[in-house]
Symmetry: C2
Amino acid sequence: MSESRPVALDAMGGDHAPHEIVAGAVHAVRERGLSVVLVGSPRVLYEALADHDATNDVPIVRAEEALAMDEGALASLRRPRSSIAVACHLVRRGDACAVVSAGSTAGVVATGRLRLKPQQGVLRPAIAVALPTVPTPTVLLDAGANAEVKPEALVQFAHLGTAYAELAFGVEHPRVGLLTIGSEAEKGNKLVKRAHELLEGSPGVRFIGNVEGYDLLAGKADVIVTDGFTGNVALKTMEGAVRYAFGELRTSIGSGRLARLGALLQRSRLRELRRRLDAEAHGGAVLLGLNGTVVIAHGSSRAPAISAACQLAADLAKGGVVARIGERVNAVPRHHRRW
Amino acid sequence: MSESRPVALDAMGGDHAPHEIVAGAVHAVRERGLSVVLVGSPRVLYEALADHDATNDVPIVRAEEALAMDEGALASLRRPRSSIAVACHLVRRGDACAVVSAGSTAGVVATGRLRLKPQQGVLRPAIAVALPTVPTPTVLLDAGANAEVKPEALVQFAHLGTAYAELAFGVEHPRVGLLTIGSEAEKGNKLVKRAHELLEGSPGVRFIGNVEGYDLLAGKADVIVTDGFTGNVALKTMEGAVRYAFGELRTSIGSGRLARLGALLQRSRLRELRRRLDAEAHGGAVLLGLNGTVVIAHGSSRAPAISAACQLAADLAKGGVVARIGERVNAVPRHHRRW
């Protein structure tokens, strides 16, 4: 599928909005050849684009309101003209192919749900994150859109994640694991035990069984499904643990006779590695299952991360991720559907 | 409270049983001045003790059966004379002060529950692990004893963890956090939202509110309560993430011009640090809330970890952790109890 419509980029969301967002848009257009439209306050964005001599390169769509980073789901209902709402509206109208925002996750998810609506056949949209495994990332979902779900939703997450792994990372027949607390089928809580039964023999899902917390970064599965509460706790735990390990490492190599070697390491590979591992630097989480793709960049994103998020959004749109998910979910034979 | 009764050490549980277990017992007796009794096959244990010239230093209590490492909860019911069951029986009879086992967690938990029974007023025994924060460890519970609990159980976990942090780590007025997916009171699933209400204003609990996955290793709380499903996923995720970070680090510093510096680091501090961070090396998880303390050492424990686990068990028994938990749980005014 060719895709000439631009990515709608929420220019007002994120800790470094609008300047780093605008710089990311300029990078995406000039270096990646992407088509991007900035959504936000025209006056502010025009000035920011002028700093890059880019007023002719990136169009602006007006949105005078914005969601603050600490505003949650409710605020999104009260701000129908916020930059993220307008960006969603562009996709809805067919004037943009996907949305990118570095705004507050709760606000982006609530706005996306409200403005784009779940696609036909999808029970619950989910947040998918790509964990830095090799050779291809492991997709973890739901990373926090739904604190409470039914087992049937986990089967759908398997379809959403499978479509994402295929399109974003070119994985053929992605292996799907179910996050729980032991490898035997009967391990876990009620939700997981029932989901295990449903996933076994689910058409179109290559289910490899239970996986545990250890396996998230071990590359054992291409897609790992869980409820949004567990997924969010696991993702943040992982980020905290990586940060902790590097902090301890810095303390350890910063003291004693190895101090100078440590300092050398810190300045070079260590910093690079830390950045790569730190989940905050990943291309972005993706909200799947809506009538349009929404890439949620981390709130602390600077220009390179915004540009990468635009690339991911464009790739997913070009691959037709919404249609692919729709085909998968609706291709499940009626007697296998529990939704 | 003085404590002269020995620690009952399950000599047949663990990947390196019985030799490393016996070596750990000899270390605990000789180097730590602890009193330990080994439970297992007398012939095998006598020979192992003879290797240390220690046949007179450590008494043996006969148990001819053992739970295999891959045997779960059900097997423990079928083996009333297993080494872990006999060790629990010694505590029950008042002939030992606490149990240490490196056997399978599921088997140890099931046997402990069955043989020692939950103490009066305790709804659910829980597994507590000490995370390596500074200046004192953070106690996470439940780390996996209960896959499904009611909100009231989380309040009790707060009492169990508070007693443990006070006795094992000397923390005064431990701060208790509730693990969830956002700092606001209304964040989380139904279980957590209700537990938040119950914890607020719970007498005897210094509740500091919600904590997130990031906070597990940040020293923000002294005790973090969660259900056993979430706690187990978080603990294993943390272990996996630390392992991953060090693996990546090794790859990174092992290549290119920094290879030699990296190799130097690997041989010294890095290995030491990795061992300290790796949750597998911690003193052991503790099963709290039974009529007797059970320390569950990691299955891969060697002599030093077994010796440390014996020390922890003796310290907890000496501090009267069972009585302390009983006082806490039963001191909650009736109108505040929801159990």
